[in-house]
Each structure stands twice: as C-alpha cells, then as structure tokens.
Symmetry: C2
Subunit: 286 residues, 2 copies
Amino acid sequence: METVLERILGSAALDAETTRPPRLLAAMRHGALNGGKRLRPILVLEAANLFGRSDQGVLEAACALELVHCYSLVHDDLPAMDDDDLRRGQPTVHKAFDEAAAILAGDALLTLAFDVIAGEAVHADPSVRLRLSRGLARASGVGGMAGGQMIDLESEHLDRSEADIRQLQSMKTGALLRYACWAGAVLADADESDLHCLTRFGEVTGLAFQLADDLLDVEASAETMGKATGKDAEAGKATLVGLWGIDKTRDELARLSKDAETLLEPYGERARVLTALADYIVKRSN
Amino acid sequence: METVLERILGSAALDAETTRPPRLLAAMRHGALNGGKRLRPILVLEAANLFGRSDQGVLEAACALELVHCYSLVHDDLPAMDDDDLRRGQPTVHKAFDEAAAILAGDALLTLAFDVIAGEAVHADPSVRLRLSRGLARASGVGGMAGGQMIDLESEHLDRSEADIRQLQSMKTGALLRYACWAGAVLADADESDLHCLTRFGEVTGLAFQLADDLLDVEASAETMGKATGKDAEAGKATLVGLWGIDKTRDELARLSKDAETLLEPYGERARVLTALADYIVKRSN
C-alpha cells in the first residue's frame, strides 16, 4: 500500500505531459504519507479478497479512497475547522507549510483520487470504474463525508438527538467505511446479495468505529488527565457516548461486533481477516 | 444552463438515498449560482455543437466543469489565499457564511462535479464518461488548475521568466479552458484530428483569456484610479503584461485571435458561434 501511495504521489505525473509543482506535491505527500492506519484501503483489499480478487488494481482503488480520507484530514485540521497543530505527532499540513498550501493540497488529493480510480488496472470494465468513481463522489460529498463534517461543526454546543447524531456520523465517518466494503465487493464482481451484505457490514463497522473512537476519547482523558470528559465533550461535540454514557456504549459496541460477525458468517473461513479487522476496530486502543 | 445548475444544486440529492445539509447546500449555491459568465460550459456546448451534438447530456457535462470552476473561486477567495470579500458585487462565500463553510462548500462542489460527469445522460458509452471524468481530474489537479494556483501564490514578488509565467497560466486558467473545448469534442464523438484541433483552439483561447484579463486589470486601474499599475502588479503577481507592457500584449492578443480563427476555418459557417466566443474573450471589457 505505501509503495503504491508513494508512486501515486511521486514527482512523475500519472499523465506524462504535465508537471507537478514541488511545493504542492510536498504538502500533498505530508498529508498522505504520514503513517496512517490505512483502515479504509485495508477494508477495500479484504472485501475484494473475500470474493477472490487481490491484485495491483485493487490496491490502486484502495489508494484512491485513502487519498480522499487524507484530503479530509488536511482540511479538517485547518484553523477555520478543527484547528489542530499536530496529527500523529507531526505538524499538520498548514503548520508544516501554510494554510494556502494545506487548502490546495487537500483539493489536489481529492482531485487525484478521481484520476486514480479511473485507472485501467482498477477494473477491465469501464462501467465498473465509473460506478466506483461515482460511488466515491457520493460517499465524499455534500450527501456524505463533507455534509457530515458540516453538520458536526454546526452541532457544537447544541443538544442533538440520538437520531441526529447517528445521521451525522453515518455521513461523516460512516460513508467512507461503507464505501470501502462496497467498493471491494464491486471490484471483485460480487453479486448483488453479496454487495448488500458487504454494504451492511461496512455500515455496522462504521458505527462501531465511531463509538470506539468516542469511547477512546473519554477514556484517554480519564486516564491521562484524571477527568471524565474528553476533548470532544470540551469542544461541545455531539457524540453517542455523551448521550448514553460509557456502559451503554460498551454494550452497544459488543452488539455491533456480534452483528458484524453474523454478517460475515456465510463466508466462513474466507472472512477471517475481515472479521479480525472488525474486531480490531472495536478493541483498538488508538 | 442556469436551470440545470439549479437542479444539480437543488435540495433533492442526485442519489435519492442521501440528504443534503441545508447550510452546506446554501453555501454551495451561493458559490455557484451567482451570475457567472459561464464561459467554460458555453465552450463545452459550442465545441460539442460544432460536431453536431446538443442535448441535455452535453449541458450536464458542461455544468460539471462549471462546478469545478466555481469551487476554485470559492477557495481562491479565502483569507489564506487571495483574501477577497466580494465577487461580482456579492459577499464571497466565507463572508456570507464563514470560512469553514466556504472550505467545505468548495470541497463539495468539486466532489459533486465527479458525480455529475458520471451521469448516464452525459454519454451512452461509459468509457467516454470515464475519459471525461479523468480528463477533468487532470485539468483540475496538481498538474493543472490547483498546481497553477500554487505556483501563482509562490510567484508573488518573485521575478518570473516568460516561460515560467506561461507555464503557470497554462495550468491555472489554461487547463480548464482547454478541457472545455476538448470535452465538447469528446462528447460529440469527434475524431482524433478534430480533438487535436479543438484542444489547440482551447489552448489559444486560454492564453488570450489570460492576456485580456491582465490587460483589463492594468487598464481598469489606469482609468478608474489614474495609475498605471493594476491590482495584480500591486499584489506582486507575475503577468505577461507586466513583462511585455500594454502594446506588445495587444499585438500578441491580436495574433492569438487570428490563430483561433485559423484553427476554426476548416469548419466554416458551423464554427460561427465558437469564433464569436473567441472574439468576445479577446475584446471583453469585464
């Protein structure tokens, strides 16, 4: 994965006729090659693998999705958004470069994703590549991730209902995780009932991911700072753990974990890695 | 065109299953439905028309390109970039809403373009839609418009050579104008030699557009403020008119105008509107 991302973000343009300005490319690399967990592309790979496909083309599609995720982090970190100076212990892009470079690097990472997903290796059938490209646009845009981020920013210091928070999270973090599992199945020509099952698995996994994230935030603050509210609560962010408390959230996570397992049961041993991934998401500590 | 843009940016999502947060949608509409000249989409329509295609699908593709142009204006106007409070006499998106909304609205307009260009009406053949989508990504990204904007920001208060300024402009404004003419021909299944000719016409038109823009900037300042340097010069922007002076720039514009006409001569009367458009670009006063 890192090798493919490194090549995609190398100084040689995918389109041999164009040049890539070095400073913008450096800002894009800073935003994308920073030791992320690569959870979304790994879900793509494993979902495709479940239906018997694992080759370079799947990796390319997986990297396109990761570029979208990385662009969203670069923009979310900006002073006008979450205003974060550090990500994974490194200065964020606008700190390492400047705000203009971070805005443009995010824009260019997002745009590059739609170049990469259209690549011939991704799938022999252009209509499948187009379906993947359009799906990526829908998962990322006003009805998906970008829309969710907007609702999240608006939700600060507002009392939101459980339904509102679920909607927000299904857009902000859920949409890309659902896309990852769906796209893997599409890449491997899975049939409609398998696509449906993987999409459901992606939804459940997305919700579990968000709950685990919220729990981590509260628990990390309790341990390291001796207080029971995390930085989400201090920022006035609407979370389900804020609404439910820790115990109910843990119960819900266990239920989701069981759901994910049940969804993959029909695939037996072949789904071992995907099941382990879902388990990691529930139990992860960072 | 406005009707189609209005529908694309309506509250009903293209994908019926998703919802669009009202405030983000409002910011996107503010950035896109603000009385622009629609030069790029008109070039798409007229280039397609030259080869006998004019239908709803061409309009959709043209609007996808306009969404990309509008996103770039929303982001370029941000305080960290060109820091403009007004566009066409209206508050810019970050003034009418806030910076976070402007960043997300730009992101979502860009993303929406890749949803729209993949629409079935655009072309019956998915591989043509994919070609248009990938071309749009390349014209807009690190090797095109976004890269050009980065070089432009870096160029402030630097002495740039003519070759450097040409490179910058061919990326920043040239890439989308070239794409517009190429895409129109692709939409209408023009053959390779016609594609080549329209691409060249797009390049010439792009360069003329930029020179006319630079001249307008200098001349408007001379008339309205009684001084011979425009706001580009004051911002330390690298322009060819700054390098050449007004007279040489006018000569070059006349030459480009002639080139554009010559490129379209083989198409005779059918190219009347495109020729008039190129002429308008050279002679426009705003």
